[in-house]
Amino acid sequence: MRYLLTFLLLPGTAFAQGWGNVAKQAEPKGFSWTDPLWGGTWMAWTAATAALFIGIFAAMAVLVVLEIRWPGGAERRGILGLTTTRGDRLFITLLGSVYIFLAWLGLTDALLWTPLALAVLWGVFCFWKV
């Protein structure tokens, strides 16, 4: 009798949870940097990667504005013995940052604030001295 009762009550527990909700995660609400944008398209945009490209294109736009305002690319010979323009310095900054982050990812599990700081310092160094 006790077993029968338990058996009869089982569906009740399922009803309490709600049918069809098993193993379903609650839908996150609001903005997320890492969710697919526009419901997922083949280019697989997320807000985070979009921000990266917006940043790069914004930097290039700033260089264009600077070039129109002060033409000539601010060419000079830096401490590495290279003759660089503003565009060269941006290129060296970005490429160097890539390697700073890759080295960090390859060598440690620590958080990414340190390489971010290193990359910013590298950028300042590039625009100041290189």
Partner: protein
């Protein structure tokens, strides 16, 4: 009065559009894929920088990268000096000039996968001319399907055969553009052939050599078709260069995320080495 005409920008527009579609859109897509996981059907799951971390620590990637650098280093060390020597020994005028030029251009006209197949058949031990000759006539065991060393020799000889011509033609173009006055001055001063080479021919060839080294570096670093057709990356993994490994991960295993991360690291290496070559080889011009 100086007139400023900005109309020329409009003529660049088609190229910009073309580059946007064949370079910019793909690379943005690769960046997006490299931080996500997908099982197809345009469903993506955020992965962060996990693929990069995994890849940078994987033995398989290190091995493929090492093989790639070994391959590129070896073919550059052979093709550049060999190309210069051949260009120096080619006739400068007369009947033989076009004959030499056409002979030199021939290997470059052959489609890459055909080059791979040709060398595959050529070096197979049972039926290939070279394979049969080495094994049966000279008695040297040579089987590029079984011995890693033989496979490496075959892909390197194949690349040298295919691409030394490019270095030759570029160097030759640099050589014939040197005015005779330089040689006459060298003769009057009694300069030795080595001095002529070191102080006249080599400096005059520097620009084209820069281009040759850059082109050969980028091409050989990204090489896929010929070794894939020839050895398929084997025996074992011994000739699995970076690009072959990349295709295995992307299309064989359909791991698009790791493959995208690998492509980006690959791209960063190519970009850095090309920049380094270019900067070092053009640095003297800026002084």
């Amino acid at each position: 009065m100086k007139t400023v005409n900005q109309k020329a920008w409009f003529f660049v527009l088609p190229v910009l559009l073309l580059v946007a579609f064949n370079a910019l859109v793909p690379i943005m897509t690769v960046v997006n894929y490299s931080v996500q996981e997908t099982f197809g059907n345009n469903q993506f799951f955020w992965e962060g920088l996990g693929w990069f971390q995994q890849l940078l620590r994987s033995e398989r990637f290190h091995a493929a990268l090492g093989r790639q650098f070994l391959f590129t280093g070896m073919i550059l060390a052979i093709e550049i000096p060999l190309g210069i020597v051949i260009a120096l020994s080619m006739p400068k005028k007369g009947f033989w000039v076009p004959v030499c030029l056409v002979l030199m251009a021939l290997p470059m006209l052959i489609p890459w996968n055909v080059v791979g197949s040709m060398w595959n058949i050529f070096t197979l031990p049972g039926i290939g001319l070279m394979g049969y000759f080495l094994n049966e006539v000279l008695g040297i065991p040579y089987d590029m399907t079984q011995q890693p060393i033989a496979a490496w020799i075959t892909i390197i000889v194949m690349d040298v055969w295919h691409w030394t011509s490019l270095v030759v033609l570029l160097c030759y173009a640099g050589l014939v553009s040197i005015p005779d006055a330089y040689y006459q001055a060298a003769k009057i001063d009694g300069a030795s052939p080595w001095k002529v080479f070191r102080y006249i021919q080599l400096p005059k060839m520097r620009t084209v050599l820069t281009i040759a080294v850059l082109l050969r570096f980028m091409d050989s670093f990204n090489i896929y078709t010929e070794p894939f057709t020839l050895t398929g990356g084997g025996p074992g993994n011994s000739t699995t260069l970076l690009s072959i490994d990349l295709v295995k991960i992307a299309l064989g295993q359909f791991d698009l995320g790791p493959a995208a991360a690998m492509s980006l690291i690959y791209f960063a290496i190519t970009l850095f080495v090309s920049w380094l070559f270019y900067t070092l080889m053009t640095r003297d011009d800026q002084r």
